[in-house]
């Protein structure tokens, strides 16, 4: 919101805001008197707001205001009550509604399933409806509830809603309500008459009239409402209230802060402002970096937004480096942007920046040779050797592991390396002090040749089925402990020799949940030591038999590592995993990397961080030690409320790291959110994307720490029961499941159900222990986007891409609900599901479309039919594929699934809204939730 109405801050109770705040009470109590219900008047909310243009992973749905327009033809009859003050809604030409009164809980309209697309320009003007309910920028301290502190000390409170105390202000408002309601009704009548007189009024009115709640029991197609990010508005007295943090980087589960809430953060940024400044302006007291949400009382001072204490502004802060002139301090890039990066002076270094160090630990035991992963490994490494981040000092080492350790010593720039074998793995030593870890630049040619030879070196000669990765890790750690760096492990078999040897713990027919914790603390201790020496360990697993990922992943868990699993990798039989590995490995090698990082999150006074979830080591209560940072990981932090909050709260995360170019940098993200005392307001600003990710991380942490899996499952269900239940209570209407139209609460049940069916939490039999552990690790460290699409895959209908008029960049097909209800007999669908993408072809699909895109009829299509062909439809389809798969390195190649093919199960399994033998369908789950709530 670029220009919120000027709020006379902290004085009195301005009329406009009182009214606005009041309307939320009004708008929900309307259902007590159904037919004359009125939509709220939102005088104070400006129409145009900047959306998050910089979002690197835009959800396809976000480009459309709710995607409602497709249903327009269905609702052309005039509704019973004339739309009262409809002119406020002129911005919403095609809002869906449910016959005017949600109270009557009408039977679901037979919704047209095929979206009818129309030119996008027509719909680009209206703002997303969620903005209608954005926070009033008024004096929010009036509404900030003083919650009893002990209530929020509870650990891991997934949903802050249940114990929400009604603030006294709100009760007052409810008491005033009847009188105001009459006034409103009079107005409604007047406006209604006015509207009736106008030409074309009924049609217009039908669209303008909409209810603000949805009945989940009645409304099946919940996906149609989209899943766009929620916008918030900030008070104007801040230095730059229009600065917004990219929600892909830093987001909160609640866009309005009531009390306890959690944050999700990603260490990834695309458009960055790098600032080189003589002095970095920080708060004298709490060391906060200056940011857009500080307050400038005058040009000489600034007031910190976290500790609210005053600071002097240095003289040179009025100098604007972009225009090279003195002026308003607000023009500084620190104030203009919510995300900035400073190049740190030497005070921020404990030692000179380290060079980039990469060590590759490759498994060459017999099963590794059989899987043939070395071929893809060597191909991709050669291609990307020059693209690996680092400066001239970059160093590299290779160690092969079977029953002994094979070191490769690079002595000359001409001859290839000499191999040294250490077979005393219980008491291993580094065979030579130099020449194992060598500068990449000097030895580039030799290293290149060596990498090229790797597959042939190990394809001949004696191999063993031993693996001593534990001892290798210890040695490698001692080799690079002085410098720090990154160790990449490529593991095919279970380590069975030396320190850290593991046993098969997989029990046949287990229900799941056992043995998810580590078998030994060897890897954890090692990983803690590594973190202390700034060494990060990443794990690539290619196992086809049990390899105890739950224990092995401990090395990555506490050293900021990543775990990528390619089950049943086989070069001959499984081209899919090979391609996926190549894609992931390329991204892994070339992505940006930062070394020896620490991350500190500061919060406004009154909030405190109470827990962290992700791969890192918690060094202190607000400080995380990260040996390496990369753009493809995320972490979550839980925030507890300790005292009464001011009108807005801020979170600042500062990441101090050494870039691969060898300079020290500080990346600062600041997020500012308004607070509210209104429960319904809170529900409208409930961010499901962050919540789902957070809930899954909590569940994973609990299960991997040895808790029963059923506890995690129960906690997930309780989270949704609590938040929905509290909402039903607030609405005080039983019999149906109401959710607000804005906000994300409506999608909560379907996401939780999907989470319960996710391999990480599923109670299905026959799930391998390693598969579950891999799914859990993915949830633990992966960024939001990946987690969301893995939990609730996105299903697109491709048939509409055949229409020449249909689609361009801004109106791609919308995601459908994941049920066979939406799979039609002539349909061709694309499913983007976590690390896999599928194209599903029904047997009766349009032959012309198949011919154009797949180059043959249904029978002729085979797994390699999907190549871009020289016609418009194929180009459009591929443009759409590109749009979906862009930036998602974790997505494997697109797999074709025919309706009658054997691999159909892959597709069917991901339709999580349908019931299976042991799980609920979406409707059954809703009924289950309803029973739980009513109890």
């Amino acid at each position: 919101m670029s220009n919120p109405p000027p709020a006379p801050s902290h004085v009195g109770f301005p009329q406009a805001f009182g009214q606005q705040q009041y309307q939320h009470v009004q708008q929900f109590s309307q259902f007590a008197q159904p037919p004359q219900a009125a939509p709220p008047m939102n005088n104070g909310t400006p129409a145009a707001k900047p959306t998050y243009a910089a979002n690197p992973f835009p959800f396809p749905t976000t480009s459309q205001p709710n995607g409602n327009h497709q249903y327009q033809p269905q609702y052309s009859q005039p509704p019973q009550p004339p739309a009262p003050n409809g002119h406020h809604y002129s911005g919403f030409p095609q809002a869906p509604f449910q016959n005017g009164s949600a109270a009557a809980a009408p039977p679901p309209q037979p919704l047209q399933k095929t979206p009818v697309f129309a030119p996008a320009a027509q719909y680009s003007a209206p703002p997303p409806p969620s903005q209608q309910f954005s926070a009033p920028p008024g004096p929010p301290q009036q509404f900030s509830a003083p919650p009893p502190p002990q209530q929020f000390q509870q650990p891991q409170k997934p949903s802050p809603i249940p114990g929400y105390p009604q603030p006294p202000q709100l009760q007052q408002q409810q008491m005033q309500q009847p009188q105001n309601y009459q006034q409103q009704q009079q107005m409604q009548q007047q406006f209604g008459q006015m509207n009736m007189g106008g030409p074309g009024a009924p049609n217009q009115a039908s669209n303008q009239f909409r209810s603000d709640v949805i009945d989940l029991m009645a409304e099946r197609n919940i996906q149609q409402y989209g899943f766009e990010d929620i916008d918030v508005s900030l008070p104007t007295q801040l230095a730059n209230p229009s600065a917004k943090i990219d929600p892909a980087i830093f987001r909160s589960t609640l866009q309005n802060i009531p009390q306890s809430e959690e944050l999700l953060k990603k260490k990834d940024v695309k458009n960055l402002n790098i600032i080189q400044t003589t002095n970095i302006v920080r708060c004298r007291y709490c060391r906060t970096y200056i940011n857009p949400y500080v307050i400038f009382p005058d040009h000489r001072h600034w007031r910190c937004n976290l500790c609210t204490r005053g600071n002097d502004l240095p003289d040179d802060f009025c100098w604007d480096p972009t225009t090279k002139s003195f002026g308003d301090p607000r023009n500084r890039p620190e104030i203009q942007n919510a995300t900035v990066e400073f190049i740190a002076p030497s005070e921020y270094m404990l030692r000179p920046p380290q060079p980039a160090v990469y060590v590759f630990l490759i498994d060459v035991s017999i099963s590794a040779i059989q899987s043939g992963y070395l071929r893809a490994f060597s191909e991709q490494l050669i291609v990307n050797l020059d693209q690996m981040p680092g400066d001239d000092r970059t160093q590299i080492a290779f160690i092969a592991i079977d029953q002994c350790l094979h070191f490769y010593s690079f002595n000359s720039t001409k001859r290839g390396p000499s191999e040294m074998v250490v077979d005393d793995i219980d008491d291993a030593f580094v065979p030579t002090a130099t020449s194992l870890l060598v500068p990449l630049k000097t030895y580039k040619d030799v290293i290149r040749t060596f990498i090229k030879d790797i597959p042939s070196i190990f394809s001949v000669g004696p191999t063993s089925n031993g693996n001593c990765v534990g001892s290798a890790l210890k040695i490698v750690h001692s080799m690079i402990a002085e410098i720090g760096g990154r160790i990449s492990i490529f593991q095919v078999s279970m380590p069975n020799l030396g320190p850290g040897a593991l046993k098969n713990r997989e029990e046949p027919g287990e229900k799941g949940g056992q043995n998810l914790g580590p078998a030994t603390d060897f890897y954890k201790a090692l990983s803690l030591e590594c973190t202390g020496n700034q060494v990060c360990i990443d794990l690539f697993m290619f196992n086809s038999t049990y390899a105890d990922i739950s224990t092995l992943s401990e090395v990555a868990k506490f050293s900021t590592g990543c775990v990528y699993v390619f089950p049943n990798y086989n070069i001959a039989q499984d081209a899919y995993q090979v391609k996926r590995f190549e894609k992931t490995f390329t991204r892994y090698l070339t992505r940006k990397i930062g070394f020896e990082a620490v991350l500190r999150i500061r919060t406004t006074r009154g909030l405190s961080l109470s827990g962290f979830h992700g791969n890192f080591f918690v060094r202190s209560t607000d400080l995380l030690a990260l040996a390496n940072v990369n753009p493809d990981s995320a972490l979550a932090a839980q925030v507890a409320l300790e005292e009464k909050l001011p009108g807005h709260v801020c979170f600042q995360s500062a990441l101090l790291y050494t870039s691969s170019k060898g300079d020290r940098r500080i990346r600062v993200h600041t997020m500012c959110l308004p607070t509210t005392g209104d429960l319904l307001q809170l529900y409208n600003h409930f961010d499901l994307k962050a919540t789902v990710s957070y809930l899954s991380k909590i569940g994973v942490d609990r299960a991997m720490a040895g808790g029963a899996l059923s506890d995690s499952r129960e906690a997930l269900v309780n989270a949704v029961v609590d938040s929905l239940g509290a909402y039903q209570k607030a609405m005080s209407r039983g019999g149906s499941m109401l959710v607000p139209r804005s906000g994300h609460l409506r999608l909560f049940p379907s996401y939780v159900l999907a989470l319960l069916k996710h391999p990480a939490f599923s109670s299905a039999r026959g799930l391998k222990l390693d598969e579950r552990a891999a799914a859990m690790m993915m949830l633990r460290f992966s960024p939001l986007e990946q987690i969301l699409s893995d939990i609730y895959p996105r299903l697109y209908r491709l048939n509409d891409l055949a229409l020449p008029t249909c689609c361009d960049e801004s109106s791609w097909p919308h995601p459908l609900a994941l049920s066979f209800e939406y799979i039609q007999r002539d349909g061709i669908y694309m499913l983007e599901a976590g690390n896999a993408a599928y194209v599903y072809i029904s047997s009766q699909a349009d032959p012309q479309f198949l011919q154009q895109v797949f180059g043959g009829n249904y029978q002729e299509i085979h797994e390699n039919s999907l190549i871009e062909r020289d016609n418009d439809v194929s180009r459009r389809v591929f443009a759409f594929f590109k749009h979906v798969t862009l930036f998602r390195f974790y997505l494997g190649p697109i797999v074709i699934i025919k309706e009658h093919a054997a691999n159909r199960e892959l597709f069917v399994r991901r339709l999580v809204d349908d019931r299976t033998e042991s799980t609920h369908s979406y409707i059954e789950f809703l009924q289950h939730l309803k029973r739980e709530i009513n109890n």
Partner: protein, 145 residues
């Protein structure tokens, strides 16, 4: 007045509980340092873990002595703590060395506060025990014939 076995038990317990008080104070200080100062949790946990088994053993031994001399009140007061110790040690996180504190989870707000609370309660318990054993020792010395 005679120096009975019960009096000897109380005397030993008095000395032992002195050690326990020291352990408890040390734990409280260490946890508090974790909370407020930037101490390294790995080292802090290592220090604390070294003291876990000695404390449990010392406490177990004098409880056993009370059972031998059949001091009913002291037995009833100490048995719950013995069971609590056994319970925590069985359910400790996976680790190769002795101890119960895990440096990766200790800084979670909930773990930290519960650990701190437990060590305060233990400190209070040991202090009360100390004075009770002093009183009980003198009482047995005086009353025994």
């Amino acid at each position: 007045m005679a120096f009975t076995f019960a009096a000897l038990c109380y005397l030993l317990a008095l000395i032992a509980v002195g050690f326990c008080i020291f352990f408890a104070i040390y734990t409280v200080i260490c946890i508090d340092e974790l909370k407020t100062d930037y101490k390294n949790p790995i080292e802090q946990c290592r220090n604390l873990n070294q003291l876990i088994l000695p404390e449990y053993i010392v406490h177990g031994v004098y409880t056993f002595l009370f059972i031998l001399s059949w001091q009913l009140i002291s037995i009833l007061a100490n048995l719950p703590l013995v069971f609590y110790h056994i319970y925590t040690y069985i359910n400790r996180p996976v680790m190769s060395g002795p101890g119960i504190y895990d440096p990766t989870t200790i800084l979670n707000r909930s773990t930290l506060s519960s650990t701190l609370r437990v060590s305060w309660i233990k400190l209070a318990f040991y202090l009360i025990s100390f004075f009770y054993y002093l009183y009980a020792m003198i009482y047995t010395l005086v009353t025994s014939t």
